[in-house]
Amino acid sequence: MTGKSYKEKQQHRLQKDTSQTPVYEYLLPPKRTKSPYEAKLMQILLEPTNFKKKFTDLKLDEQLAMNQLLAEISEYGKSENLKGFARDFAEGAEYLLDNIHQIAGTEYDKGIFTKIHRDEKRLIRMECHGTINLRTPHQLSIFYKYFNKPENKGKWGLRAYDMKKSPMWRVFMQFESFRKITQDIRKYMQKKGINPDALKVMTVSDFCDVIFQAYQKSSKDTKVSFLPEGESIKAKYVKEFMQRCGDKYKKLKLEEAAARGIRPEAVESLCNAMRLWGITEPSRITVTSFEYTPQIIKDLTKAGYDVEGIEVGSPIPQEFTDYLIMHHQEKLIQARDESGKLITTEGLEGEELHHIGAVLIAANNGYLARTNYPGMFILLNTRYHKKFIHYYDRILKHNDEEQFYQRLTIKDKKIRAMLGFGKNKCVSGDFEDSAEFKKRETEDMLYVVNYNKMTADRLKNEVEIAQKYKINYTKVAIAQKLEEIKNIKGTSKSDIQEFEGEYIKWLKEQKKNRRQKKETAHEAETKKVSKEKTSERKKIKSAKNKVKPAQKEENVKPQKPQKTLRQRKNLDKEAEFDRQVWNFIYERTGRGHKIK
């Protein structure tokens, strides 16, 4: 920490700027990001000869600030009608920006993409991290809730759980990580006595709930890993990276650490954590010692390890260090400095995982699973990732279905890690040449499905299941369906036309059923009344002769059943709701009719 308080840090934002205006102020956009390096950077920009060399000599933070300043000057030049030297300066900024991209080996990638569904995005994220969050009840479907009621549960054989019959599980099965757990999910559903028919109508969220429960260890869990520790796609990539490019990476990290006064033990421990667990976050990593110390021998003895013959100062074998890390016992060999203080990773930067092809674009270009392939990942220095690679991200709405995008891509597709600007800060490798990967790719191809088609299939199944189990549609269910139509609508019309027909049929049928029910109830009521009336008439007839003329009128008049005010209001609401539903369908699809 710097030692200054938050108030001091933000002081410049709380007070009015009273500092002297620099002479070059007129060249810069008035609303720009304040940088402590501005004066130094402007010195270079006002004398830009040999820019590439000057830029490469800067520290990473200064390079990032230079990139931002140039981008802001360039934008300013485009938006304002600058004149004279100010205009030339802004044009020059654009040229210098190109120089930076040449050093970084990056270029702009611009185009149009079609949005993918939220469910698909969720699956990409879940597969990448290997975790699933607790679902809230409003995210689950009424069908899933119905089949989870104790009275609707039962016993079925494992064979009845044919996951291929589930349209939405087929969406999951596009990813290797979910294919791996298919058997577990089948067994769990059987164990819980969930009707196999539920598979046909379960949504992505419903399956998330099943996976969450199947892998939940404690009732307090709100997030669960459905893959073993260190086996998520993300962790596996980092492990493979270290296996293939670990030496080069470690060399770069040691150079960087030496320049910043960081102990090599810290770098070594980060590399160990990356290699064994796929962890890239240096904070709280236990820094392990290179050699045995009296304290380490003491700690190992206490923990029951045989330390006979081990001498103080002899190196700790890598295999033993790995063994202790894998068994979470690395604290036994913690590294200490000369004064006996524990060495930490303070100041050491880790790398972040970056998806080379944005999720949306990758989905556009190929199949969904491809997004999480090793060739689509790259490890980036934290600051470089945020302040350079993502700095140029732009999305512009084109129409409801398509959007323009702009982002930065790395030209050399073999680069697997970038620790800063320049080729000498990059690590390259091809991770898609292994037999294991080829097998995964071939299998993935076999499981590719179209999300919209699968959703349409599921919604068709809902009609069948609703009829079979007499699950009446509710207002909530209809609202959900309409939302789904809205979401599908943006994609292929022909894919969903068939579904819409079915859905409208279903609605009509449900409405007809309701009408029939009402009519039957009314008929029964009328029959009852007429029966009552007949018997009443008979009674009246027989009594007619005996009754005096003045009493006749009040006995004969039939009683019409009167609806209460609440009943009438409910009927009005229902009619209004139906009107809205039908008008919505009519406006969206041109089917049915408009109700005034």
Binding site: Y6, R13, T222, T280, R284, L353, R394, Y405
Partner: protein, 133 residues
């Protein structure tokens, strides 16, 4: 939120200095001056436990001197959807607070699509969704 705090136990992450009352006041003042809104009360309650956190490319902002975690710096520098105060992000999504509808949101970083919404008392679920350790 309790469950999320429980989940963090034994996990590896870096966090900002303990939260000071004055820092919250400064953050609220500056954010409002920037045309944004107050940090929601439930999030401030979380900051009392962890004043900003980062791990493996996941960030939760706080009123802290650490530039990467400073809620003001991040809201100033990152592309942001309208009427949303950014509270954190990961490789894919933002955690934002829609101060018009008073909801926490998980927002796609690429196209600003709202993937999930959570009420004020569901902050724990939202934090769970954004912070992967």
């Amino acid at each position: 939120m309790k469950n999320f705090l429980q989940y963090l136990k034994g996990k590896s992450y870096k966090e900002g200095e303990p939260l000071e009352k004055e820092a919250v006041i400064v953050a609220q003042k500056v954010l409002c001056n920037m045309g944004l809104d107050f940090v929601p009360a439930s999030y401030v309650a979380f900051l009392k436990h962890h004043n900003g956190m980062k791990a493996n490319g996941c960030y939760l902002f706080g009123a802290t001197v650490d530039d990467d975690l400073d809620i003001i710096d991040q809201n100033e520098n990152m592309p942001r959807p309208q009427n949303v105060l950014l509270l954190g992000y990961n490789e894919f999504d933002y955690l934002g607070y829609d101060y018009v509808h008073k909801k926490y949101q998980i927002i796609d970083r690429e196209d600003f699509e709202v993937l999930d919404s959570y009420a004020d008392d569901e902050l724990g679920a939202a934090l769970n969704e954004i912070f992967e350790v």
